[in-house]
Symmetry: C2
Subunit: 253 residues, 2 copies
DNA sequence: TCTCGAAAATTGTGATCACAGATCACGATT
DNA sequence: AATCGTGATCTGTGATCACAATTTTCGAGA
């Protein structure tokens, strides 16, 4: 009955592994098609294979990774069609969250949204693409969180996790990411205006517009982002890169 | 390069365990709040704890189970608020699927939908509640599958998995489930009409109506379905029922 | 130079064991 | 009779080992 504050509760190892992989996917540190192996990760993280196994299984459940007939793990690669489907789902799901956020809009989240967007503008001016993407993410989730629908937020998290390896790498394929980033800022302003006007429909439309607009930029580059093609065999498939393999990219750290 | 058909590919044990638990949840064989333990399940299924561990972790990832601070597993219990949120999410997500299905509607799925609905009517007349729920499920997923959006279908599967323990048990709390079942049939006819008319908006509205209507029946009974309340302690919580405990219900078989 | 095949290395899966934390059962103490 | 403490039991977590399937490597044969 003591008010024991400080529930430090440092998570289990498998949770830590899971969160690091999740962050790596969110940030685009892992490319679609990259293979991930249990032992290699365990060695790199200094644990036994067990926690890694469970973390990978969880990511498979969230469709962030796939398990080939091979049983080997890979960052889920998308075809253009799948990417478009994902963006369509995002438009309606995140549109719903935006609509609800507009209903519950408060000056507090209004202020924070403005801050995130300002940070995004600053990052654009400084040419810090990573910071831009980070600010963009914060803006969106600040909004979605304001909807106060935990289960909906979970779904959105899953969508971003799957889209991360693409969205966070796609801007590198653009000649001038700046103009792309700036249009994002404009959409964000539209979203804030809709929320300030307490208009759910406008907010949903604005979010959908933001998503669709960015999708237009990326659609053509979906293929370019994928890791070197894995050959498609029969009962199982493809090679497994294990760990280093040439300073490629798969940096789980 | 041989066209080896018959990919019987009897899955791994963990997959089998997962699917059985999934089915148990879908059918409402497990009540919200029921506790599930690794060793008990492993013993009952005649395997080692390993496959069960991974299956449970996966279900946790899908929010079908929760892990208390205790680390013990429980079938996710819902508050009324959470249940309503879930139903709202279902309305827009499944509404989207219905809309897309309406666009792609074919006489083939029209025929099959009619069959499922007919089966539902027959089951109602015979008073076979379980068969009613089964036919209802087939009807919905026949429709959603027709949308041809695999990722959206995955999300819907997750929603049903979480709702299963409630929806599949709630009709038992009704005085006369028949009138509830029959209204479902009417909504289904509305849905089919909308699809036949190739009207995405009407299809989405009809699905949302179906979901909301059923939610109204269940809302009051959310609390009644939950398994006996687990006491909420501090760092972790509640007892673990392990296995039999008095012929209660948790039949994973 | 290319093709084929067998050994070697790598992969995920499953079983078993050890362990820390939590819960429960039971008995001594007040 | 009620309360508290102590040991027994149960829980999930992590480590280690064994194994079958697969992939890769590499050398023999054409």
């Amino acid at each position: 009955m003591i008010a024991d504050l400080g529930p430090i509760d440092s998570a289990t190892i498998q949770t830590q592994v899971y969160q690091r992989l999740r962050e790596a996917l969110f940030n685009g540190a892992l490319l679609p098609g990259d293979s991930v192996t249990i032992r290699a990760l365990a060695t790199r993280l200094g644990t036994s294979p067990m926690p890694v196994r469970e973390a990978l299984q969880r990511l498979v459940a969230e469709k962030a990774l796939i398990q080939l007939p091979n049983r080997t793990f890979r960052v889920t690669p998308f075809t253009t069609e799948m990417f478009i489907e994902l963006m369509r789902v995002r438009m309606t799901v995140e549109g719903m969250a935006a609509a609800e956020a507009a209903r519950r809009f408060s000056s507090r989240v209004e202020r924070r949204l403005a801050q995130h967007n300002a940070a995004m503008i600053r990052a654009i001016e400084r040419g810090q693409a990573d910071a831009v993407m980070r600010a963009n993410r914060r803006f969106h989730f600040e909004l979605y969180q304001a909807a106060d629908m935990p289960q909906l937020l979970d779904i959105i998290n899953g969508l971003w996790l799957r889209a991360g390896p693409y969205l966070m790498n796609a801007h590198r394929s653009l000649d001038d990411p700046t103009i792309f980033f700036r249009s994002g800022v404009l959409f964000h302003e539209r979203i804030m205006a809709a929320c300030a006007a307490r208009s759910p429909k406008r907010a949903a439309r604005a979010i959908a517009g933001d998503i669709w607009h960015s999708a237009r930029f990326f659609r053509r580059n979906v293929g370019k982002i994928n890791a070197p093609y894995p050959p498609e065999r029969e009962p199982r498939t493809s090679t497994a890169v294990t760990s280093e393999e040439g300073g490629h990219h798969e940096s789980v750290r």
